[in-house]
C-alpha cells in the first residue's frame, strides 16, 4: 500500500490541475496586484515605481474620495450587524421552538439567498420606481403621499434604500445558520431550564444565545466583510450614484481600473479592500471570545 501511496507520478498528476489553476488565478494575481499598487501606471505606457503614493492618494484624494466609499460600506456593515442580524436571530429563535410548518418557513425565508443579486437589484429598482413601484404606490394608497419619493435618486437616503434589498436577501442566510446552531443545542438543557421555571425569553437570553456565540461571530464576520466587498447590488441599483452618494470601495475600484485606466491606483484600492476585510475579520474574531477559544 505504501508504494501505492507514495507513487510520485500519481501525486503530481492528481495535484497538478488544481495547483496550477490556483497559482495562476489566485496566488500570482494577488502578488501582481500588490506590485501594481506601487506603480503609477495607465496600462499603456511603462509604469513607474512610486512607492506608497497611491495609498497616500487613497486617503487624501477628495474627488475620488475613497474614505467616503469606505464609510458608506461601513454604514452598510453597521446596519447589517445591528438590524439584519437581530431580525435573523429573532426569526431563528421563533422557528427553533419547534412550531408547526417549521420547514416551510425555513424554506421560504432562505429562498432569496439563492437568487442572483442582479435579479434582486433589477426587481428592487422597480419596487422603488417613483411612479409605478410598489413602495410609492403603497404609500399613496394609504394616504402617505408626503413620504413618496425617488428612493434611489435622493443622496440623503440612497444608502438606506440600498440596504433594504440587502436585508431582504440575506436575513434568510443568517437565520439559517443561527437556526441550525440552535437546533444543535441539546434539548435537555432547555428542558432542564424549563423545569426550573425559566420562560422562553429567559431560555433564549441565558442559554441559547450564549451557546450560539461561535455562530453569531461567523455571522458578524460575514455581515461586515460582505458589506466591505459589496458590488453587485450597488452596481445594479445605483452604479454608485446619485452624486456618488452610494459609492462603495468595490464600485470605485472597478471604475478607476476599467473606466479611467488608473491601473496602479485602482490596484491600491483592491489591496486596501483585502486588507480591510482581513483586518475586520481578525478584529471580530479576537474581540468576541468563545469558549472554544479559551479551551484551546
Amino acid at each position: 500500500m505504501d508504494s501505492v501511496r507514495k507513487n510520485k507520478l500519481a501525486i503530481v498528476l492528481f495535484l497538478f490541475p488544481a495547483a496550477a489553476l490556483f497559482i495562476m488565478i489566485i496566488i500570482v494575481p494577488i502578488i501582481m496586484s500588490a506590485y501594481y499598487s506601487l506603480q503609477n501606471w495607465d496600462g499603456f505606457s511603462q509604469g513607474t515605481f512610486i512607492g506608497f503614493d497611491n495609498y497616500i492618494e487613497l486617503i487624501q484624494n477628495k474627488t475620488v474620495n475613497f474614505p467616503k466609499a469606505f464609510r458608506n460600506a461601513g454604514l452598510l456593515a453597521v446596519l447589517s450587524v445591528f438590524i439584519q442580524l437581530p431580525v435573523a436571530l429573532g426569526l431563528a429563535l421563533l422557528l427553533a421552538r419547534g412550531i408547526k410548518g417549521e420547514r416551510f418557513f425555513v424554506g421560504v425565508f432562505f429562498l432569496p439567498v439563492l437568487l442572483s443579486t442582479v435579479v434582486i437589484g433589477h426587481l428592487w429598482r422597480r419596487i422603488y420606481h417613483l411612479s409605478y413601484g410598489i413602495v410609492n404606490v403603497g404609500l399613496r394608497a394609504i394616504g402617505l403621499e408626503t413620504f413618496v419619493r425617488d428612493w434611489l435618486g435622493d443622496p440623503g437616503i440612497v444608502l438606506i434604500a440600498v440596504f433594504i434589498p440587502l436585508l431582504w436577501q440575506y436575513v434568510g442566510y443568517h437565520m439559517l445558520l443561527m437556526y441550525a446552531g440552535i437546533k444543535s443545542i441539546s434539548p435537555e438543557l432547555k428542558e432542564a431550564a424549563k423545569i426550573d421555571g425559566a420562560t422562553d425569553g429567559q431560555i433564549s437570553r441565558l442559554i441559547i444565545i450564549p451557546l450560539l456565540k461561535p455562530i453569531l461571530r461567523i455571522c458578524i464576520i460575514f455581515a461586515v466583510t460582505g458589506s466591505l466587498k459589496a458590488f453587485d447590488i450597488i452596481h445594479v441599483l445605483t452604479g454608485g450614484g446619485p452624486l456618488r452618494a452610494s459609492e462603495v470601495p468595490s464600485t470605485l475600484m472597478v471604475e478607476m481600473i476599467f473606466r479611467r485606466n488608473r491601473y496602479g491606483f485602482g490596484s491600491s484600492m483592491a489591496i486596501a479592500i483585502i486588507m480591510l476585510c482581513f483586518f475586520f475579520a481578525v478584529l471580530i474574531k479576537t474581540t468576541i471570545r468563545t469558549e472554544v477559544d479559551s479551551d484551546g
Binding site: P17, I27, G43, V118
Partner: protein, 281 residues
C-alpha cells in the same frame, strides 16, 4: 388557572405565527409582484393594475425577451459557463483532495494551507491581473475568460468540503483494493470517487450558485453580446426594452427558474451545504 395557561399559549402562538407570517409576506410579495408584472402589458403595470393578477396574460413578454432580448442566448451562455465550471471544479478538487489527504508526500500540509488561503481572498484582488492576462491571450469575450477564473475561485471551498467527506472513507477500503491489485488510479476512480457522491453534490451546489450569480468578472471580461451571461445580459435589456417592464420581468424570471427548480427538488441538501460551508469557512 388552566384556562389562563391555555390563553397564554394561544397568545404566544398568535404572536409567533404573526411574525413569521409577516416575514413570509415580505419575502414572497416582491417575487409575486415580479411574476405578475412579467405577464402584464404596460397599461396594467403602469397604473391600471399594479399589484393584481394579470387580467390579460401576456406570454409574449417571454418570447420577446428570449428572442429580441437575446435572453435565450444569455441563458445558454450561463448554462455552459456554469456547467463547465462545475465539471472542472469537481474533477480538479476531488483529485487534489485525494493527493492532499491520502497520498503521502513531503509538504502536503503546507500545500493544503496554501489552498486554504483562497478562503480569505476576495475576487477583487485578482481582477486586474487576470484581465491583463486574458487580454494578452486575446481571451476576453470568450467562455474560458469566465470558467477558468470561476473554477480557480471555487477550488478552495471544494477542497475543503471534499476533505471533510474524504475523512469518513475508511482507509481499509483502499488497502483491500490495493491487495486485489488495483493501481492508485483504479483506487481513486473506482473506489473513492463513487463514495464521494454526496461531496460532489455539495460542491456542485456551491459552484452553481457562485458561477450562475457572478457579476463582477462577467461585467469586466465580457463585452461581446455572444458571450454575455445572464447577469450581464439582463443589464443590457435595459436598453432594448427601455420603456417596457414586461419583457425585463420575464428575463428576471427566466434567470431564476433553474435555481428555483434546484431548490424545489433539493432544498434540504442546499440548506445543509450552505450551513456546512459557512461553518467550515
Amino acid at each position: 388557572m388552566g384556562k389562563r395557561a391555555i390563553n397564554k399559549i394561544n397568545i404566544k402562538n398568535i404572536f409567533t405565527y404573526g411574525i413569521l407570517g409577516i416575514w413570509t409576506i415580505i419575502n414572497l410579495f416582491p417575487l409575486y409582484w415580479l411574476l405578475t408584472f412579467s405577464l402584464k402589458n404596460n397599461r396594467e403595470i403602469f397604473g391600471e393594475n399594479v399589484i393584481g393578477l394579470p387580467r390579460e396574460w401576456v406570454w409574449s413578454n417571454y418570447t420577446r425577451a428570449l428572442t429580441i432580448g437575446s435572453v435565450g442566448r444569455y441563458f445558454f451562455n450561463s448554462m455552459f459557463v456554469t456547467g463547465v465550471t462545475i465539471l472542472l471544479t469537481v474533477i480538479f478538487a476531488t483529485m487534489a483532495t485525494y493527493a492532499l489527504t491520502r497520498l503521502v508526500w513531503k509538504g502536503r500540509k503546507a500545500a493544503n494551507n496554501i489552498f486554504m488561503l483562497g478562503l480569505t481572498v476576495p475576487i477583487h484582488a485578482a481582477i486586474l491581473p487576470i484581465f491583463l492576462v486574458l487580454n494578452k491571450l486575446e481571451w476576453l469575450n470568450s467562455y474560458q475568460a469566465l470558467f477558468i477564473p470561476y473554477t480557480g475561485f471555487a477550488l478552495t471551498m471544494a477542497i475543503l468540503i471534499c476533505g471533510g467527506f474524504m475523512a469518513s472513507i475508511p482507509r481499509e477500503l483502499e488497502e483491500a483494493a490495493c491487495i486485489d491489485g488495483c493501481s492508485v488510479y483504479g483506487i481513486f476512480f473506482r473506489i473513492i470517487l463513487p463514495l464521494l457522491k454526496p461531496a460532489i453534490a455539495t460542491i456542485s451546489i456551491f459552484t452553481y450558485l457562485a458561477a450562475w450569480n457572478e457579476l463582477m468578472f462577467a461585467v469586466v471580461f465580457i463585452r461581446d453580446k455572444d458571450y454575455r451571461t445572464l447577469t450581464v445580459g439582463i443589464q443590457s435589456l435595459q436598453g432594448t426594452f427601455s420603456t417596457e417592464w414586461g419583457p425585463i420581468g420575464a428575463a428576471l424570471v427566466i434567470a431564476t427558474i433553474p435555481t428555483l427548480i434546484l431548490y424545489i427538488f433539493m432544498s434540504k441538501k442546499i440548506q445543509e451545504s450552505l450551513i456546512s460551508g459557512a461553518i467550515k469557512g
